[in-house]
């Protein structure tokens, strides 16, 4: 009974947050050259498919992507003891299950068997390789200071001071890699107009809605995890926890999307270059700085 209630609460939160993101994002991107994922979904469009789509993979794509975000919302904390499931390895679990979105993109893109759509797979994998290492490094700073992988513990460790104050480098790193993980500008290569909007160019109806839900929820989850890791999660004066969590999540989302739209779009090759030449060294430096801070006794004890 308790389990069913928690599951229901998590799904309700995810649904509300996804709808909010869906409505909010096009407004944030109104000045952007290319909207990418946030472009309107053509549910009734006739989509050209090659003659031999791999129908099972084609349908499995959006299902897997939605499953990934549904699993990921389980560890997002909304208040004191108000978390669907406080896993001991919560943050790591979050990174892993969001990979199912990439897997879904690959299956859906390949299965459609249209040239542009198959490109989604190649470009998406390149983007995965680009962001996965710096993303882990962006998480590690917060994990080191909190001394735990549990999202609830990480929030509690920020009772005195938010980690964004102690680790500004890690926060910026998270903003960049989070945008990469969410396929938002300037990192929307797998959804760019150059390849006809990626999977959106080859799917309509339920599949298109599934993709849109998965991508909106991914942006929300990335922003929520950013709020948990660096902005103190649900902590805040006067207002109750869930409200603070929503405020911080959407504030961070606006910052990320608005900031990302200021930059020129990057190709996958450029992303890999950025990842290996800038983000990964910066992440390693951040780990060193955080380690030194911990040794000096700064931060939560």
């Amino acid at each position: 009974m308790d389990l069913a209630l928690r599951a229901l609460g998590a799904m309700g939160a995810l649904a509300v947050a996804t709808v909010l993101t869906w409505l909010l994002e096009p407004r944030l991107l109104s000045s952007a050259a290319e909207k990418g994922v946030a472009a309107p979904v053509g549910v009734r469009d006739e989509k050209h498919l090659a003659q031999n789509p791999d129908t099972w993979m084609y349908s499995a794509g959006p299902i897997l992507a939605v499953l990934g975000v549904v699993f990921a919302v389980v560890v997002i904390p909304w208040g004191d003891r108000l978390v669907p499931r406080d896993l001991g390895i919560g943050v790591f679990y979050f990174i892993v299950v969001l990979d199912f979105v990439v897997l879904g993109l690959s299956l859906g893109g390949w299965g459609a068997n249209v040239r542009d759509s198959v490109d989604v797979y190649y470009r998406g994998v390149a983007q995965l390789v680009a962001y996965v290492v710096p993303l882990g490094l962006a998480y590690i700073g917060a994990i080191m200071m909190a001394g735990s992988l549990s999202t609830q513990r990480i929030v509690e460790a920020q009772a005195g001071m938010w980690f964004v104050v102690l680790q500004p480098i890690g926060f910026v790193l998270y903003l960049v890699t989070g945008l990469m993980q969410a396929y938002r500008p300037p990192f929307l290569e797998p959804f760019s107009a150059f390849i006809g909007g990626g999977v959106f160019g080859s799917s309509s109806g339920g599949r298109a809605i599934g993709w849109r839900i998965a991508m909106s929820a991914t942006l929300f989850l990335v922003a929520a995890m950013g709020a948990v890791l660096y902005l103190g999660g649900w902590r805040g004066p006067v207002l109750p926890g869930p409200v603070w969590m929503l405020i911080k999540t959407y504030g961070l989302m606006m910052l990320m999307v608005w900031g990302g739209a200021r930059f020129r779009l990057l190709t996958a090759g450029r992303m890999l270059e950025l990842s290996w030449k800038i983000l990964t060294p910066v992440g390693l430096a951040n780990v060193l700085v955080v380690g030194a801070l911990i040794l000096l006794g700064v931060g939560p004890t």
Partner: protein
């Protein structure tokens, strides 16, 4: 049995099915892409079994490694195989299992009449891969169509020169070997006298324990693995460095370097005069040559 025990049992059955069916599908499907995805599914099923055994960190690590790793591996398979989508081979005579795991790839008997539709669809996919010449694909598709038209029974035919990666004469021996090994493992499982049952409750902070062990007891193994990976990265950087022939022009120059270069006199054909023009005056002499030609006409 309590509800928890039933749920656990059901989860075991589902995950074990995913692991076994994934492995079977990997070996029998006609699509290289699906084959990789089935292998990934099999590993994810095993990871689910790990999680069921309270080794959640290990299970999640396995999922993370295999999603990323398999997607990259499939990418390379697609780049180097002739028919990664399997739409050519899916029209062939297939056994029941192969048919099952190739469902949705093509329309079975309808494929027989329209043998070339598979090739068209496949050309789309290959166009994305960019690794194949299109005429080549067209040729292969044509052969495919002809074969279907000529004979319904493909079992006895030799398609050695078509490089059908999934159809190999060794398949039955491999299957036999797999059955023998599997029977051996099950026999070990049954004949083993008693399994030790630990009453230790699993540690919810398993990540901390694993990390502590990696940094103390297994530090040598951990650090040597790190060194190995570092050397691997050095090797990759060394191989991928821009060498003496970084672009196509430089490579062409390298290839043609063995031929004797054309004598310089032929560049600017001197008319009448036996003197070789100086480099600075060369363009001028070319101009004059053109003027001469004009006069001649």
């Amino acid at each position: 049995m309590s509800v928890g025990a039933v749920a656990e049992w059901a989860a075991f059955v589902i995950l074990a099915f995913i692991a076994v069916a994934g492995a079977l599908g990997m070996a029998t499907t006609m699509s290289m892409f699906r084959s990789g995805i089935f292998l990934m599914g099999s590993f994810i099923g095993v990871a689910g079994l790990f999680i069921l055994l309270s080794a959640d960190l290990l299970g999640l690590l396995q999922i993370m490694m295999y999603i990323g790793g398999m997607l990259v591996m499939i990418l390379f398979m697609v780049l180097f195989s002739h028919d990664p989508g399997g739409s050519m081979m899916a029209g062939m005579e297939m056994s029941l299992v192969e048919r099952l795991f190739s469902l949705g790839l093509s329309s079975g008997t309808a494929e027989m009449e329209h043998g070339d539709t598979g090739a068209t669809g496949d050309m789309e996919a290959m166009g994305g891969a960019g690794g194949m010449a299109h005429e080549d694909m067209g040729d292969m598709g044509g052969m495919d169509g002809m074969d279907h038209g000529a004979a319904g029974d493909m079992a006895g035919m030799d398609h050695g020169d078509m490089d059908m990666s999934m159809t190999t004469p060794m398949k039955r021996y491999a299957a036999g070997l797999a059955v023998v090994v599997g029977a051996g493992l099950v026999a070990l499982l049954v004949l083993r006298p008693a399994w030790p049952i630990s009453s230790v409750t699993p540690d919810p902070e398993s990540a901390r324990v694993v990390g502590g062990l990696l940094m103390s007891k297994y530090m040598m193994a951990f650090e040597s693995a790190g060194l190995l990976i570092l050397v691997g990265i050095f090797g990759a950087v060394f191989l991928a460095r821009p060498g003496r022939y970084p672009d196509q022009d430089a490579r062409d120059e390298y290839v043609t370097a063995d031929e004797p270069p054309p004598p310089i006199e032929e560049d600017a054909p001197p008319r009448g005069e036996g003197k070789k023009p100086a480099p600075a005056a060369r363009s001028l002499s070319v101009l004059e040559a053109h003027v001469d030609e004009g006069d001649g006409d």
